[in-house]
């Protein structure tokens, strides 16, 4: 019995209803607010470009999370892994001479390495230190944030006065090339598509994916079948962290063009919502992320046009995922009751 579409439809309708109630209750024009968000995300080519640039790092971080979730891990440290990738990429942008075709690949690789290192640390804490990955990851996330702040106001501070608004911009060779006069960097979008496709393939079609899923569903029997759970978990953390780090490099090189303290900006946490709404499936990550990126981008217009706080975007995203989870639980309960009544 396939109740996926039913569940999604119910969830969308219910959360739309709740959002409209919230808007009315807070004195905001309900339909106009939603129209402003939609227009802010897709209203002209420049805005579509911005939405795509929000989409790319979100998809990359979510792709990494699909890997760690497959192994049964709650990688809340993804936010720190994005930050670590951005720091590593910024370091390369500042230190490495040479033209763009050398510099940009080096930055992206550094981002992967930085994120993978941060993932590796969380993995070690988990398997060697027995620290729950939620808290190990959060701790490392705080460390990465503190380190980025330290760099921005300390060793990498702007000419003249130190400020938390960021470092000096990278030299132009370190900027991902853009199309026309929009902010769209095709490289970012292509990386995101390649990243999620690679994850979708490796989860379903490779030994690595098989091992991940074996450890994720039952570590004890995986061990009996000759899959080392600890090594597999650490590897999942490194791959997931590497993807998140690539997202960080894309943010640094394609969006910010400099290092700012909170460079991940909650995108890692948002990616967790994307994966929850995609029911942990790689194939659904890309479309779900379009929706999330559109709301995040469009919500910025709320402030300008209606004087509403842009956090409304986060409220809508949160309501949708919450209602989606609850709907799944309610449908399951309803079905098992029906089965019990008829059987």
């Amino acid at each position: 019995m396939n109740r996926g579409p039913v569940r999604a439809l119910i969830a969308v309708l219910v959360s739309l209803f709740l959002t409209l109630i919230l808007l009315r209750a807070t004195g905001a024009p309900p339909y106009e607010s939603l129209a402003v968000i939609f227009d802010g995300a897709f209203g002209n080519p420049g805005r579509i470009a911005d939405t795509l640039m929000a989409w790319a790092p979100l998809v990359l971080a979510a792709a990494g999370l699909v890997v760690t979730f497959a192994a049964g891990l709650w990688n809340i440290g993804v936010e720190g892994q994005v930050t670590a990738g951005a720091i590593a990429a910024s370091w390369v942008a500042r230190e490495l001479p040479g033209p763009a075709y050398v510099l940009i690949p080096a930055m992206l690789l550094a981002g992967i390495a930085g994120g993978a290192l941060w993932g590796l640390l969380a993995g070690w804490l988990k398997v060697k230190g027995n620290v729950n990955e939620i808290f190990g990851g959060l701790g490392l996330g705080f460390v990465a944030l503190s380190f980025a702040t330290f760099l921005v106001i300390g060793p990498w501070k702007r000419e003249g006065v130190a400020s938390t608004s960021g470092t000096d911009p990278f030299r132009p060779e370190a900027w991902l090339p853009t199309v026309g006069d929009t902010r769209l960097a095709p490289v970012a979008v292509l990386l995101a598509i390649a990243g999620i496709a690679a994850v979708a393939y490796s989860i379903r079609g490779t030994r690595f994916g098989l091992r991940l899923r074996a450890v994720g569903s039952n570590p004890a029997s995986a061990r009996l079948l000759g899959v080392p759970p600890q090594a597999t978990l650490v590897r999942a953390f490194m791959v997931g962290g590497g993807m998140a780090g690539l997202a960080g490099a894309v943010i640094a090189s394609g969006i910010q063009h400099k290092l700012v303290p909170a460079i991940a900006g909650g995108r890692g946490y948002l990616a967790i919502l994307v994966v929850l709404l995609a029911s942990f499936r790689a194939a659904w990550v890309a479309p779900v992320a379009v929706f999330f990126a559109a709301i995040s981008t469009g919500a910025a217009q709320l402030q300008l046009q209606l004087d509403l706080d842009s956090s409304l975007g986060g409220v809508i995203q949160g309501i949708l995922v919450l209602v989606f989870l609850l709907t799944g639980g309610l449908l399951t309960r309803w079905q098992s009751r029906k089965a019990a009544a008829s059987g």
Binding site: T26, W74, I76, L125, K128, G129, N130, V131, N132, I134, F135, G136, L138, G139, L140, F142, V143, L145, S146, T149, F150, I153, G154, A162, T164, P261, Y269, L270, I272, L273, L276, L308, D309, S311, L312, G313, G314, V315, Q317, G318, I319, V321, L322, L325, L326, G328, G329, L330, T332, R333
Partner: protein, 313 residues
């Protein structure tokens, strides 16, 4: 010395409410991961209610109700819907944080009411500890009393022992006629209400007022301190004092290292979570397992059924 100690006790107060509340909830087997968001939402609601009504007490009550509802939502999704409590809790963390920003815009940086000081005569004159424990206000006294009562309840009271049985071995508790789900709902509501009080203790006392992301990070710290304190209220409160001390040290160090002014205040957060690593270090764990007598005391295990949904059948 006396004044530093008083600052420390006051600074630890909101964390004590949140961490002891969460410890009670987790002892029943329910994980309410939403703390970082529900503290924000209740801090905002508590301030907004107190500002609008002019009553600090109403602010505290309103904040407690808001966070208790969030906790009950987590409990319901686990107990009745058999959903993953971590997933629901995490979504609620983000949703409540966004809601606090969206609903709180009118209250950003407006001056509002606060908890009035209420030193206890004679006792507050005791050197060194007098000011710290008896020269504060009702919010601080409440946290200290809560710690002692919660410790007694979980260690000695019959209901407390039943609550722990529900969190350790729900099947066995159910077989002995203990209403597992009722205990879990109650523990979630009480723990959640205390998390809400923590929010109000921030916005109406320790970190006066409201701003975007006013208490961000403290919910995660409270969750970490619950583990650090081994789910035991007295040790949890000790963890909160330790965190308060770290914060004070960081503040005192700021003039010494002016270049690190932005970084130092955030350091207690990673330090606290990294200390979990040491508490959980495998070498220490092996020693504890080899000497169960004091090992259990120093390095307690989590409630065995923590986060696991229970189906009576």
């Amino acid at each position: 010395m006396g004044r530093t100690l008083a600052t420390l006790v006051a600074a630890a107060t909101p964390l004590i409410y949140a961490a002891v509340g969460e410890a009670i909830t987790e002892r029943s087997g329910i994980v309410n991961l939403s703390l970082d968001g529900s503290i924000l939402l209740s801090a905002m609601s508590g301030f907004a209610i107190a500002y609008t009504t002019g009553s600090v007490a109403a602010g505290f009550v309103g904040a407690a109700v808001v966070a208790a509802l969030v906790a009950l939502l987590v409990a319901w999704s686990g107990i009745s819907l058999k959903l993953n409590q971590i997933a629901v809790g995490f979504v609620l963390t983000l949703l409540c944080a966004s809601l606090s920003s969206y609903l709180g815009t009118d209250f950003v940086r407006v001056p509002g009411p606060s908890v009035q000081p209420l030193p206890i005569p004679v006792l507050s004159e005791i050197p060194v500890i007098g000011q710290a424990f008896f020269g504060q206000n009702l919010s601080v006294y409440g946290a200290l009393i809560l710690t002692v009562v919660a410790a007694w309840f979980l260690a000695r009271a019959r209901r407390g022992l039943e609550l722990r049985a529900v969190g350790e071995r729900p099947e066995a508790a159910h077989a002995r006629g203990i209403p597992v789900s009722r205990y879990r709902y109650l523990a979630a509501a009480v723990g959640g209400a205390l998390v809400g009080v923590a929010g109000a203790a921030f916005s109406l006392d320790q970190k006066l007022g409201w701003s975007d992301g006013h208490t961000t990070g403290y919910g995660w710290i409270a969750l970490a301190i619950v583990i650090f304190g081994g789910w035991q209220p007295l040790r949890v409160a000790f963890g909160c004092f330790l965190f308060g001390a770290l914060q004070i040290v960081a503040l005192r160090l700021q003039p010494v290292f002016p270049g690190l002014a932005q970084v130092l205040p955030t350091l207690p957060f990673p330090l606290m979570i990294i200390s979990l690593v040491i508490v959980n270090a495998p070498g220490l764990r092996r020693l504890a397992a080899a000497n169960p007598k004091w090992g259990r005391l120093l390095l307690p295990d989590p409630p065995a059924a923590l986060g696991r949904n229970f189906t009576p059948e």
